[in-house]
Subunit: 344 residues, 2 copies
DNA sequence: ATTAGCACTCTCCAGCCGAGAGTGCTAACG
DNA sequence: CGTTAGCACTCTCGGCTGGAGAGTGCTAAT
């Protein structure tokens, strides 16, 4: 059922059918299409075309004598071929800029939370953001800041100006001087390396360095690891889940429950977003493609953003029946803003 | 309808009625109570007592010829007077310890998120945690760490070992030396002050100090302010909202929706928790007392924890029909663990 | 004071019916 | 030959009904 096999009329009918269904959430009958859209065909003819589209697997009937509803594949071809993307309005662009770029610089985490929030409120869907993967980040500066008796704060500066910190617990008998020496050694030997490679590289490069305290180095490597791997849980932000309540397709308690449950698990969603991040630009994932247990009825519109070497993903999650034409632009623009802001 | 006006029988009936209702979620009839509990009275007698309790406003009938259901006030007197608290099992204590105290030291935020998660999974309610209010925290150490061209990371050590960091944007022409001088000055003049008082105290104490760069000081004060006030949004962690889906009282779409909506707004919930935090120990807030628009059918079991001078609140949010006897102990114990962990 | 008995009320569920919507097919039409 | 009018058919949905069941409140007996 490749898109090319569809004739012009079939394409047209599919388009208006989805357009109409998206705005009403009701099965679409032939009469409605004939009346409301300038197709110039009688309901009967439209019915015939609809039967064809049904055979192609692009639309289906919830039951005999109901109107038609798009299938996953229907949405797929619609998004891939029929959509005409609606550029973002200047108004909206301004809103997004204000809410995101504005104010003074904040921590990465705050920005991500804010981005998720804005996406949710602007689209009335669920806004999701994934913080950058730091393992690709190039280390530009390392600071060890003693903050209490046995605690040292590791400050890791990444090229492009991002910063991350981790607390580590050290033996109490490490003195100020040795710490400073170690810090100097770390900076000299590790600057310019990616965060992800530290685990491999650090022990090797520092083993001959008489200045560095090996215990500190070991802890440091562990801390760096923490930042790349373990942070997976914390790096996901989800906002606007209550928006789903106004969607008629989620009126069913079970359905809605299983969606929220899978979102709350975090890991599956993180994986999904990571996976979607690798392709450049905007990606629309529809229905079963989403591959989240319980969220089969959902679509994800996602886009990657990047800050120097590190990149992450943002997106919106909602019912398959969403205004792709509009939302795609919003997500794309937001990702772009985010990239800009982070590079500053 | 003070508790003392109830006679022994009324107390007994109220207790078993609530016990039974909590476990079944069905209106409780007189027959069931007579059969299932060793009251030694006939259904008819129980019915009379029930009528009395209804007049007191402690129970009510959803409709004529249904069993009785506790009212807000019913739960209130139950929790205040009739409950016999069920101590935490050793098993559960161990689980909580493992999940919370375990692993190496993490940032405050991670701990709070983890605590919310654990509370949710252990109680099958919504787990909520509020990070400590740092404005009461006593500053023990201030570090200014340059991390990029125009960026300085402010590291604020609080007595009792907690740390917070904020990024600030500085003019590019501030040199290394001046930064170090300023840092020294800040430490000397501000250590021992509470974070909340910095805004007042700092300008005064530093205005004569020739070492401190006034621009840096100004930015520093702003950063500190950020940490105390603005952080309100980020300091709340909510986990386990999907647990509500298995509660029969929230089968209704509207009800559930409005609860999740008000939780997502954050501010009302933050305020509620702050307010509940000021009283020592554990607090049970029931039904309308909760005072969250849309969450009238919920109860909150909350407890304050403290780490040195700073304190925060944790709790669980769920339907009024919850196993208070058990949950109160769990929340209390968790708060205690949290206090211990943070003081370390 | 307690309890057995009973009439009464209300909910819940299953079944039924008619209205309405929308289809697929067939036959007529240009 | 593509298009369309007409029509029989199917399926859902809302409202109505009636019976079963649960639980009450009252009264009279213990």
């Amino acid at each position: 059922m490749a898109f090319e096999t569809l004739n012009g009329r079939e394409k047209q009918i599919l388009r208006v059918l989805i357009d109409h269904y998206v705005s009403t959430a009701e099965p679409v009958g032939s009469r409605v299409l004939a009346n409301r859209y300038p197709i110039g065909l009688s309901p009967a003819t439209i019915r015939n075309t609809m039967q064809d589209l049904e055979e192609f697997g692009l639309i289906r009937q919830p039951h005999t004598s109901a109107g038609r509803v798009p299938t996953d594949e229907g949405y797929r071809t619609y998004v891939d071929n029929l959509i005409d993307r609606q550029p973002i309005t200047p108004d909206l662009a301004k809103t997004l800029q204000d809410k995101l770029a504005a104010e003074h610089m904040r921590a990465v985490d705050d920005i991500m939370a804010q981005a998720a929030h804005v996406l949710a409120s602007v689209t009335s869907q669920i806004g999701v953001t994934l913080a950058p993967r730091f393992d690709r980040g190039v280390v530009s500066r390392i600071e060890l800041v003693p903050v209490a008796e046995c605690r040292v704060l590791v400050v890791l500066g990444i090229q492009s100006g991002l910063v991350r910190t981790v607390l580590m617990e050290v033996a109490s008998d490490i003195d100020q001087r040795s710490m400073e020496e170690t810090q100097r050694a770390l900076n000299e030997r590790l600057a310019g390396q990616t965060l992800g490679s530290l685990k491999m590289i650090a022990p090797e490069r520092l083993k001959d360095d008489h200045r560095a305290d090996p215990r500190l180095v070991k802890l440091f490597v562990e801390a760096a690891e923490d930042l790349t791997g373990n942070a997976a849980g914390e790096s996901l932000h989800v906002e606007g889940t209550s928006n789903l309540f106004s969607q008629p397709e989620f009126a069913d308690h079970q359905v809605l429950g299983s969606i929220l449950r899978v979102i709350e698990k975090r890991t599956p969603l993180v994986d999904l977003l990571r996976q979607r991040g690798i392709g450049e630009g905007i990606v629309v994932t529809i229905g079963r493609e989403v591959n989240l247990e319980g969220a089969e009825g959902c679509s994800l519109v996602s886009a990657a953003y990047r800050a120097g070497e590190v990149e992450g993903t943002i997106g919106i999650l909602g019912p398959m029946r969403m205004e792709y034409a509009k939302l795609v632009s919003i997500v794309e623009y937001t990702a772009q803003l985010l990239s800009e802001q982070m590079e500053t």
